[in-house]
Amino acid sequence: MSIRLHGRLSSPPLSTGRKAGHPADLPVTLNGDRENGERVPSMKSVLWVLIGLTLCFAGSAGICEAQALSLLQISESKKPPGLLLDSPKYPSVSSMDLTPMAQLTPVTAETSSSSPPVAGETTDDYEEGIPDPFEPLNRAAFQFNDKLYFWILKPVATVYKAAVPQGLRIWLRNFFYNLEAPIRVANCLLQGKLTGAGNETARFFLNTTLGFFGCVDQAKDKFGIETQDEDLGQTLGFWGMKPVFYLEVPILGPFSFRDGIGFVGDLFLDPRTYIFAGYPVMYVVRPVEIVNKTSLTLGEYEELKNAAIDPYVSARDAYFQYRENKIKQ
């Protein structure tokens, strides 16, 4: 699957170790577009491009809103769109959460409607999942990412796995995870999770020093300080924003509208945005990180595909459930 998918989704189970999908994808992707390789593009310009892309998505969302609504409804009820716009199931456009943060009520395990108590009907009231008005496009992107994984990423990661001992690869993974600590601290604070922010700060200093620049998770192993994995997408969700719609992005992988915004916002907090900016090494860092990560999760995407009746829907739903669950934590 796609690169980010591997980070963020395929790894839900692995999430404790790292947060996926971070900015460094960008230098990689955009590098090819530069006609002039001599000048290193500044991270700023990369950021602006990203912001532009996001705004485009947002814009197209607005334009296609009605269309999207009807598409969504057709696919769910097999009725012509005209009838559906009156459907009580989707009373108004605003219920699509395009005004997502109307009421600033934090989502917690207690308030969230989807948090299942033990009660019997837990899974019966499961909602249809994340709206997917761009399903045909998303499916095309999913196919693209699928091929990208099987034709490029997987072979490269397989060779890398054979060449580099697992211990070393885990160190590298931890190193990058530690680098993202500022994102977690800031988003803990934005959600008022003071303990989490404190823990993440302590972890960052302990692991950066005692843990050889974050390679070893001493904070947890020696001090029992657990990570609190937060990002801006989760912060937005915490304050009531819904995912709005699903978007499978070529190369980057699965997003919701909400988490796409979070992804861009987190770039500003990511030390890699600043540390490596302006140095040629920035073009190496992200690919290495991605290949390293993939080498530790080989086989997971294959298993998902193997178990699925419709791999695209399975992946989309897993991403949705995984992110909703993270917001509750």
Partner: protein, 204 residues
Amino acid sequence: MMKNRFLSLITFLLVFLALGPASSWAGEPTQQIKQTTDKILAILSNPSLKGPTKAEERRKVIGQTVDERFDWEEMSRRSLARHWAERTPEEKKEFMGLFRDLLERTYLDKVDDYSGEAVTYEGDTIDGDYASVKVKIVTSKGKEIPVEYRVMKKQTHWLVYDITIEGVSFVNNYRSQFNSVLSKSPYSELVKRLKDKTSFPEKK
């Protein structure tokens, strides 16, 4: 993707569970799940069932053990959701068989990949005839994977009707897939797809 180990662990779980020390206050649901796990572990370590030549037989015995703990009907009912009521008794029976075969085919040989992952029991919560059993698996790569079994009581047995890994519910995931197929195609298409999945040799 998702993923996605979340799906891949179903069988692992039953195996690994026995390895963790059951917490001292573990209730009946935890104990029963641990029982099943112990059985599977015993099968795996049984010398007369070891080796690739015995794979088929081993698979069969493990499958039977899992069947005793899993409520396939409840799982099928919840996965098909509103489409379940529209099915005839024969269709329901066929579906349960196919669903079970799909999961078995996908996961049972994962058991052979077991590599010493540790499991801790995080306790269970009981609410009438329903309960949830929480465990944590620590993989060889140093990751902690939270897993939750949803079980319901039938007579004296607590039977599994859903497994949630890292917040991703198995039943919900299949429900979204079944819904997607059924929103575009008739029920026969879903059955055909399930049959295709279960009849072909596993792709590696």
